[in-house]
Symmetry: C2
Subunit: 223 residues, 2 copies
DNA sequence: CAGGAAGATTCCTCAGACAAGTAGAGGTGT
DNA sequence: ACACCTCTACTTGTCTGAGGAATCTTCCTG
């Protein structure tokens, strides 16, 4: 309990120390690290331990070791996980970014949706109906409908972006609905029907507008 | 060449094999793997090799080993790197996603820009002037200007998104400008000046429109 | 039944040895 | 002077054995 934070294995500590030195610029990008034997001796650890630390950083894409040549720096820092970035970010900022991609996706969907997309949209809309279900189920059905809009836009990057947003937005919405339920679930559902029908009749400006008004209201509610 | 495929070190091969088994569901999420000695013997490799493979997967967040307890599955797959997602995606899809976030950012910037932001924008615009420089330098100056727009929008998520887009867009633009330079660099630069001035005078619709027309033209050129 | 002690199991670290691969020095021939 | 080859030194890759440290399980005791 006391040593909960200091309980890292030696190899992990060495990996952290190496990463810190790389960040500090001790070994530039593409440069070669000292040999394992010399580096292990300098750090005061066994060669196996140093090798495990190198492997850990190699798994994170920072180092790359080639037999006979040496260990080379392939990145100056670990790529931060998108999920952690969003988790750390302000909810308002996340929703604003979602407004950006979803209004565009709604407009694109209006121009590109296939008959199959329309069927899927209407089915997802029906599944979102405010029956007497749990908050999680309702939010999941809502996210599923919004995702179909992105799929109908036929842009893989936008879909991936939305998927990255889902976890963060989901928890925020669940929390909000627990504390303060919607004033009118019927009005909320009607707004979604408006969006779906705009896409169905290929009305891009209306789809984008419907998306924007709905999400802006959500942003206000979450703030 | 048989060795071409087995060029990876044994530890990396073991890591890949373990990941494949985890993906296949041999060890569920949170479950414990067999002991090092047992697993190493079963795979026909030394303990240190297996340990390095485990370390590599631990670096990727798939495994977590606790002394005295065992090695546990913490994720069923590696989180795909955003950069690799974009590199694999179609250029048109990437630009479309960029249009989504940048038009919104331009509109937000018009409403939130500080006097300091305006100064930075004008400085970046001047630095982007089509002097007789290399293609890379020109593209970098262009990306730097566009980034300032996101900074002026004061939304951390949008800035992070743009930064994620930069590598992919940069290479595509460099490639395009090498093959087919712009018809009129003056007109291109004038379009950027229009965007900057719209943000300076707090004209959100004009800023968004300027951003959209410019990026749509870029999308056409890259397609 | 609660609590603690002992044992078994597991990962962690180190050391040494040899194999496999790479890069550079140096010689050789043209 | 240049290109090519060989050999050597160095580097990472792999295995084995040993002991230490942390954790979990079992069983004993009150």
């Amino acid at each position: 309990m006391v040593a909960q934070l200091q309980r890292h294995p030696l190899a992990a500590q060495v990996a952290e120390a190496l990463l810190q030195r790389i960040r500090a610029g001790e070994w530039p990008l593409g440069h070669r690290l000292p040999g394992e034997t010399t580096l292990a001796a300098r750090l005061g650890v066994g060669r196996s331990t140093l090798r495990e630390a190198i492997r850990e950083l190699a798994g994170k894409g920072v180092l790359d070791s080639r037999q006979g040549a040496g260990v080379f720096v392939t990145a100056l820092d670990v790529v931060e996980d998108w999920d952690s970035v969003l988790r750390r970010a302000d909810v308002a900022a996340v929703i604003e970014a979602r407004i950006a991609i979803e209004t565009e996706a709604a407009g694109l969907a209006a121009g590109r949706r296939t008959p199959s997309d329309v069927r899927t949209l209407r089915r997802a809309l029906a599944a979102r109906a405010p029956e007497g279900r749990s908050v999680e189920e309702h939010v999941d059905a809502d996210m599923a409908l919004h995702r179909v809009v992105f799929v109908a836009a036929h842009n893989e990057v936008l879909v991936e972006l939305f998927d990255a947003f889902v976890p963060r937005v989901r928890t925020a919405m669940v929390h909000m609905l627990r504390v303060r339920p919607l004033a009118s679930e019927e009005a909320d559902h009607e707004a979604h029907a408006l969006l779906v029908e705009a896409i169905a009749r290929r009305d891009a400006p209306a789809a984008a507008a419907a998306s924007r008004t709905h999400l802006t209201a959500l942003k206000e509610a979450l703030a």
